[in-house]
Symmetry: D2
């Protein structure tokens, strides 16, 4: 059994980790911490876990994280990097669901997250946690920076085109739409039901923290410079991200369907849809699957890719467990076989 | 033109007052106050009012409320009673959309709202603002306590039965369902989209502040003591209240349809639905109409009444304006003729 | 492995059976029939099953149902009773998710479903499939009538009070609210998003087919005659039923919390909530759990019970599998351990 | 008073016409037709109109449309062109809310709508009904082709850029999102609440009928050829369209904010938002306003425009009445002053 610690378990990624790990045959959650709610039973805060999770939140100080095999950070940005040195020194491996270890360049991190990086030397060895891009490196990683929800969909959607050098990588557009849970478990007026339901809006056009992450990831696989226009939108639904991706084709004759099917052949969690079809977000609800369709819009020289994922699973907790499975030599799908909930 | 002041205009009842008054031919909103947002343009906070409302929020101190004909309090409980004496002394009439002037018994107010009443002598003269129950008294009132959203639907639904002495008033049940806007414009976790949507729950069973208001209102029209079991529920919709009301019949042969049609004949905002039909909340969305249907469930001795209203209009701002129209001798429907928005 | 046939798999109960059975360690779905969609791949109609279900719908005639151990009918009313004799004669056991085997009285069935019963002699032996009420009988049943969604919540909510003789069984009120999926996978105007969302309504007050089912089930456990007023409502959510149940108490001093905890002690799928708490539908979303809370409303002699379930799981497909587990001597929770999806 | 006939009033554009016209001071709806529902009271089908609309649907044959001043066609495509000759000959003016008179090229119409055009000679004189583009022509039009919902938002969003020759008109992208009511009042499975809510998807990528309409409209105002990639998406909300528009800039130094403010100065229904802000669909709910924001995404040479409208008002019935006001010399805003309903 893998001994697991969770730091900051009161958000949606935390409860999703608990939901998935409680049914993971090799996982044993030893401790879950929360400054604010120490002492509270987990199942009292999340009645959906009654009968399945018999833990209480503990003070970070009282959690013996160093005796864990792996620690998940489901915290705000800046927490993981503060504890990473001590844990790594103790032989504990880390999966950070926040942004501390996503951007390889400390200056870039500082620019977007407005705080100095606490352990640049660990940042240098941290592995970016998209298995479909970094599988081998993740196996041996001591620290995995688990990707953002938008970047997972956007990168995996553009990836085959960029790797194949088929598109003008300086004119990419990612028009992305996310359910409200992507904003986290927060008491914010603009996220309240009366404000967010029966409504649709764009936001973050002037600059979103997931932007540099997308550019970095695609840049590593591209022979040419990568520029992306990234436009996030808020959808009145709980879970789900849909990314509508536009890329100018350099070769109009390429067989895009074959390209995508070849690139993702054998990937357990990537489903390339049949030619001509389109995925909807509910088709992956509560599962770790990402479904992709690639199209050629009429009267254009563009490739149009539509990718959907559950922002809390493949976009967060599920991918974190997929990474853990790799890090500990387990079959990659262990504990992640749940079928999407439809309707 | 009626010179109007609005105290505390940043909530949903405040913006709804502005939406309705901006198209009221006899209304002139002179000032709208907000401690927190003084200086902010109203249309900046509420883009829906761009081009229609050219006011900024002002400090309560700077608002010359005493030069108004009427002041609406769209504030938390406790504010109106603190300013009532001064305003009334200045000849300003008051419509309080909060609870300060709803409960005639100061002790009862104190018990439910956990604060002493600041002006019991004015409480004694305040009129409870349901025109269909108190029309004449409202015309001459200096202070109107505008009812709660649930009490409006529950009282108007039970009223014909209670007035006619047809039911056992000690065994009334009001199973009520409200849209989320009824909780106000608040940053609260339990009201967030991710918590409240695709979900349904009861709340406040142990005691809700609208309970004594319902009992008081019906008690005044009943020859027998009134007891009500009141169960509020939260519905994943923005606007609307539906009250499902159960009353044990003393006379099984009464013509309930005729009773309701007679009681509400000529009422401009009460629509008694045809026999056998049922109203839905969207049929009154954004309007001041309350629709009622009365039924006899099979194999029972109960009267079953279903009443729907828009909690922000007939349940709050619309009824407040209906009261204002009465207080200033205007046709009762002035500025309230809007047709429900469907779909 | 249990060899399973599913008749009529294109509705929501059908796809839910497939979702659950695909991960059931002892289940092997041999055939799934559909007249209309014979030949279509299941995963083409339900992309959520891509990669998990590798079956195509077949003509009922071509499905070798007699070689199955059990056949689930996820069909409209009237289909199961037409095939029951032949299947039972062949030694196949039946779980009917429709109403053919719910009402023990053929005349009552005929009255509510407007068709003669095709096999009254089998109706006589059929077992009503609520394990918490009929566990032993279900183990040996050849035919199980799987309950309706409303009746499951209403009966299990009232049951402890009725069995204990604590309430006036002639004055029960079940004010029930259901998500839209309860109406099935249908192209009906009143179920369309533009009609049903941001809206709330009651329906079926004049008589609902689940009414006699509730009365029958409670009547069997009651020493006194049972009368129930049943008021269904449609909630703008996909899954979930919440039943608000009112029962006049004969004994005001009874410890209701202790009564419910004792009655359901050891039940794997019934969760009696802690005193003073209330369940919401999302706390059981996509799981087979039914959560119950019992309260005493202030200033009343009523017991108030709130019960929640997922109408497609404990209210349909999940309970059907729970029954199958009992019928084949498997642990009752096999394949039903999934944790509710929240948010 | 303008004597009005409505052909096909049982859809959402029909009921929206009735809602708006019932409060239009110069409008008198003389007749509303429906083959299917002739004889039914309008208010019986749409309870929201109880007390406001006292008409019944009549057989098209029995409606004396020739005595009307104007006839609105709120019908499926193909109906208006069948009656246009007779009505125009009788001096009746026509506003078609369907597509019969939108595309100037009969061949193009035939290609997209799969039917020959019944009156090409009238098509030649028909005016495309976006007042902000064709105001003068509309005043004198005998036939107005009222635009589609998507094309209204897409054209008005791109228009200032295209007219000014500031963008590469061959590489325009319109990523559009619509509420479900845009699909009409239909009993279709994919529009049902259980299918469409808590979900998001793209559709019609291979070719949507609104595509040629957008290209035609912008082409008329462009000195260069126009190519648009148009990607519609379905949003789980009732009303509202949001268009996210991307246009490659030819001149990076242009003051886009000033351009848009100048282009739409004095337009009563176009609201250019302050620099840096973004509109949401609810800010125009149930009103005829279209709000636009123009941005320059970081690290790109694109203009990004976000436009929102209510698809049933500015996208359909409201714009039709705006056209009628122009055609009959009324102030353009008559009957369209309603303030958006928020929340």
């Amino acid at each position: 059994m893998i001994r697991i610690g969770i730091v900051g378990g009161t958000g949606y990624t935390g409860v999703e980790l608990l939901r998935l790990l409680a049914r993971h045959p090799q996982a044993e959650v030893r401790a879950i911490t929360s400054r604010k709610d120490a002492g509270t039973r987990v199942a009292q805060m999340f009645p959906s876990l009654r009968g399945s999770v018999d833990l209480a939140f503990v003070e970070p100080a009282q959690a013996d994280l160093r005796s864990c095999d792996v620690v998940f950070f489901a915290t705000p940005h800046g927490v993981a990097m503060g504890q990473a040195r001590e844990l790594v020194a103790a032989g504990v491996r880390i999966v950070d669901l926040a942004a501390d270890f996503r951007l390889a360049d400390a200056a870039e991190f500082e620019r977007w997250y407005k705080m100095p990086h606490a352990c640049p030397e660990l940042l240098a060895e941290a592995v970016y946690g998209i298995p479909e891009m970094n599988r081998e490196a993740i196996r041996n990683a001591r620290i995995v920076g688990n990707p953002g929800c938008y970047p997972t969909a956007a990168q995996l959607g553009f990836l085959p085109l960029v790797e194949a050098g088929l598109v003008d990588t300086t004119r990419l557009i990612a028009d992305c739409k996310s359910g409200v849970s992507g904003a986290g478990r927060k008491a914010e007026l603009n996220l309240s039901f009366s404000e967010a339901s029966d409504n649709f809006a764009a936001y973050g056009i002037a600059g979103h923290r997931h932007h540099p992450e997308i550019v970095q990831g695609l840049g590593r696989r591209s022979k040419t410079p990568v520029k992306v226009v990234f436009t996030p939108h808020l959808v009145p639904m709980i879970r789900g991200i849909l990314a509508t991706l536009y890329a100018p084709l350099l070769d109009r004759d390429a067989d895009l369907q074959a390209l995508f099917e070849a690139r993702y052949a054998g990937e357990p969690f990537i489903d390339v849809m049949p030619k001509g079809s389109l995925p909807d977000t509910r088709s992956v609800r509560a599962s770790n699957v990402l479904r992709i369709a690639v199209h050629r819009p009429p009267d254009s020289d563009l490739a149009l890719v539509v990718a959907v994922e559950d922002n809390l699973v493949k976009g967060a907790a599920g991918q974190a467990i997929q990474n853990m499975n790799l890090m500990f030599g387990l079959p990659e799908t262990t504990g992640l076989e749940a079928i999407p909930v439809l309707p």
